[in-house]
């Protein structure tokens, strides 16, 4: 059911309950992007295969702190809008900014894991720090945000499989930022898996493809 | 590089304009296919060989023609040269910054140039002093003094009237040297390219848009017809799109509109 479509192409005809990434013209649904069309359950949508990270409420993202102010920290979330986290959110209770210094908790350059809490068109996005918001690692990779977002929202088994087969610790944000913790060899192997994700456009076969590539290293096979 | 300034038209004003259009009217009481009051005054700048001041509603444009002498372009050794320049002056509106010509001024100059050149209004082969060596250069400089939309038609009328009322001293060869003749002559004119500009606002086609109407339009289409009914220049402007049917319709409307405006221009020129 996963047909490649280009912008302007008719994805489906009829009456659907909900639709995403398509333009509804009467009873025709036209794709707005280059992507894979999915039709089913009264729903028609196109999964983007390229383009920037478009924040959605509930997304788990990893951002880089670019500014720390008394009331909030600003984060680069690999998008065309920034994210910000209120100082309060970093502490367990309401704090008085005049008494607590946010820069004691976060600094410019730090990696923070957070969930998208609130979006307003044309405004920076409000984030809520994750339970384990401090992200530290040995390597950082960027993958195409469209694919990262798809892996996240489809609750793909791929990230956990990579962790399992490589032995590395992995945190993958829906915004395309991947942080890896492990020795050089593990990092190398994770990179290979990420390269597979980047080079393929049919996300259906990805899972098996990655297992194939990672098993070339002589790791134990698993299904 | 950067798109030009559009006026911010409030929601209420948009409603007002659309309601009137539905009744075949515009805010200044015009019909959809009526031009604003047009006044054209030739010979306003005595130091220029030709000039004209056009007032099309509140759009005010002045064009000046200067005749110079120079070497011909290498690929056209037996032709005079046409150079058209335009500037939307800082006086024209609060959004116009002083500086080198912006993309709107450049587009304006080039479209007016095309209307003059492609209609073959002036026979440039008759503007040669010495073949391959000396030719006349016809400079047309357009200055937009006041901005209220439809710069294309206003500038074109100013340029055309200025050219067709130009009188200059020809260079004569007197015993091997070039000297200025004693009697002024007109340019060798053989046609008249008439420009008309239409805009698509919502589902309506209107002629001669004001700045406000241009700020609401999908797109505009400027068309130049010569005296035999041939189309010599077309330019679509604006960041929207026109239906193919709109284009076909406007081409026909432009033909009859240009015949109307042709009479006006010819009247001004013959009375100059």
């Amino acid at each position: 059911m996963s047909k490649l479509v280009v912008p302007g192409e008719i994805v489906a005809k009829g009456n659907f309950r909900s639709w995403a990434n398509v333009l509804k013209k009467g009873e025709e649904y036209l794709s707005l992007f280059v992507g894979r069309a999915e039709i089913g359950g009264g729903r028609v949508r196109v999964i983007r295969l390229s383009g920037p990270y478009i924040p959605k409420v509930g997304d788990f993202v990893i951002g880089v702190v670019t500014d720390v102010q008394p009331l909030a920290a600003t984060l680069d979330i690999n998008s065309y809008v920034n994210g910000y986290i209120m100082a309060n959110a970093f502490f367990k209770r309401r704090i008085d900014p005049s008494k607590f210094d946010l820069s004691k908790k976060v600094n410019v350059g730090d990696l923070v894991a957070a969930k998208v809490q609130r979006i307003e068109r044309g405004k920076d996005v409000v984030l809520q720090p994750d339970q384990r918001w401090k992200v530290d690692g040995d390597a950082i990779f960027y993958i195409s945000p469209a694919k990262a977002h798809y892996l996240y929202t489809s609750r793909s088994r791929i990230p956990s499989k990579i962790k399992e087969l490589t032995g590395a610790e992995l945190r993958l944000g829906a915004n395309g930022i991947v942080v890896v913790k492990g020795d050089l060899k593990k990092i190398e192997t994770v990179k290979r898996a990420l390269d597979v994700i980047e080079s393929k456009y049919n996300l259906n076969g990805l899972y098996n493809e990655i297992i194939k590539v990672l098993n070339k290293d002589g790791k134990s096979t698993d299904n | 590089m950067m798109p030009s300034k559009k006026l911010l038209v409030s929601a209420v004003r948009k409603e007002q304009i659309l309601k009137l259009l539905a009744q075949g009217k515009r805010v200044d009481n015009r019909g959809l296919l009526d031009y604003r009051p047009l006044s054209i005054a030739p010979n306003v700048i005595e130091k220029a060989e030709g000039s004209a001041l056009v007032k099309l509603g509140d759009t005010h444009v002045i064009a000046g023609v200067k005749i110079g002498v120079g070497t011909p372009f290498p690929d056209t050794p037996n032709e005079g040269i046409l150079i058209v320049n335009a500037e939307i002056l800082p006086t024209a509106s609060e959004y116009q910054e002083p500086g080198p010509p912006d993309e709107d001024s450049i587009e304006l100059a080039r479209v007016v140039d095309r209307g003059i050149r492609e209609s073959k209004m002036i026979d440039f082969t008759k503007l040669v002093i010495e073949p391959g060596k000396h030719v006349y250069i016809v400079y047309v400089d357009i200055s937009v003094i006041g901005m209220d939309g439809n710069l294309f038609d206003a500038s074109s009328y100013a340029a055309v009237v200025a050219l067709l009322t130009t009188k200059y001293y020809p260079m004569v060869n007197e015993n091997g040297t070039l000297v200025k003749g004693s009697e002024k002559v007109p340019l060798p004119v053989q046609d008249l390219g008439v420009s008309t500009t239409f805009a698509k606002v919502d589902s309506y086609v209107i002629v001669d848009p004001t700045w406000e109407e241009e700020s609401m339009m999908e797109a505009r289409l400027t068309i130049v017809y010569d005296k035999s009914g041939n189309i010599c220049a077309v330019q679509k402007g604006g960041n929207g799109a026109l239906l193919v049917d709109d284009v076909l319709n406007i081409i026909d409307l432009a033909k009859s509109k240009s015949e109307e405006m042709r009479k006006v221009l010819e009247g001004v020129i013959s009375n100059a």
């Binding site: 912008p7 302007g8 707005l32 920037p52 | 080039r110 073959k120 330019q235 679509k236 284009v247």
Partner: protein
Amino acid sequence: MENQLIINGKRTDGRGPTDLRPLKIDVGIIKNAAGSSYIEHGKNKIIVAIYGPKDSHRYAMNIEKATLRCRYHMSPFSTEERKNPQPSRREIEISKVIRDALEPSLILENFPKTMIDIFVEVLQSDGGSRSASITAASVALADAGIPMKDLVEAVAVGKVNGTLVVDLNDIEDKEGESDMPVAFMLNENKITLLQMDGKMTVEEFKAGLMMAMEAAKKIKEIQKEALAKKYSQGENKK
């Protein structure tokens, strides 16, 4: 005196009046760009790169939608005579009309306060470079994931020795009786670029417009193939 540009229905390059020049498009050729494409159309060799959506400059910021900017530039070695690298008035006008040809297809409201840049570099120029640029840029914008209602394709029609022809080559562009580049959004039957210079009767204009539309349909197929080539599964090489 007049050059014979079309003899017995054959043009200077052997084509018939409705034949397109060879056209090929590659997608995603510049790693750093959000989207990119390379087109060869006739002897035109043009690269387009898209950057953005990204933070807009203060002066250009629009709170309703992304600001689209376009730069069309010819490389100094692209033409017979070396071209001065400084942007000419022609390049400035072409930059403007290309931008106005693509903007109607894009849904810029999705990215308010940002800027999207279209950079067109003509490496080798032949007739119809602005049309080829538009065709390539639309593909590059799709590659960049910018939401759009339809792809945009462009072609120049004209008149040589009294005959209407499609996709003018360099000689026809320079010596023909008229030159009319047109860009289409075919799904909605819309025109986003239309310029003409030369002399045409009303009938010729209308017929030429329809010929351009037929050519645009063929070009659209090539655009779709180019995108499918990059984005389909299988023997995928990066």
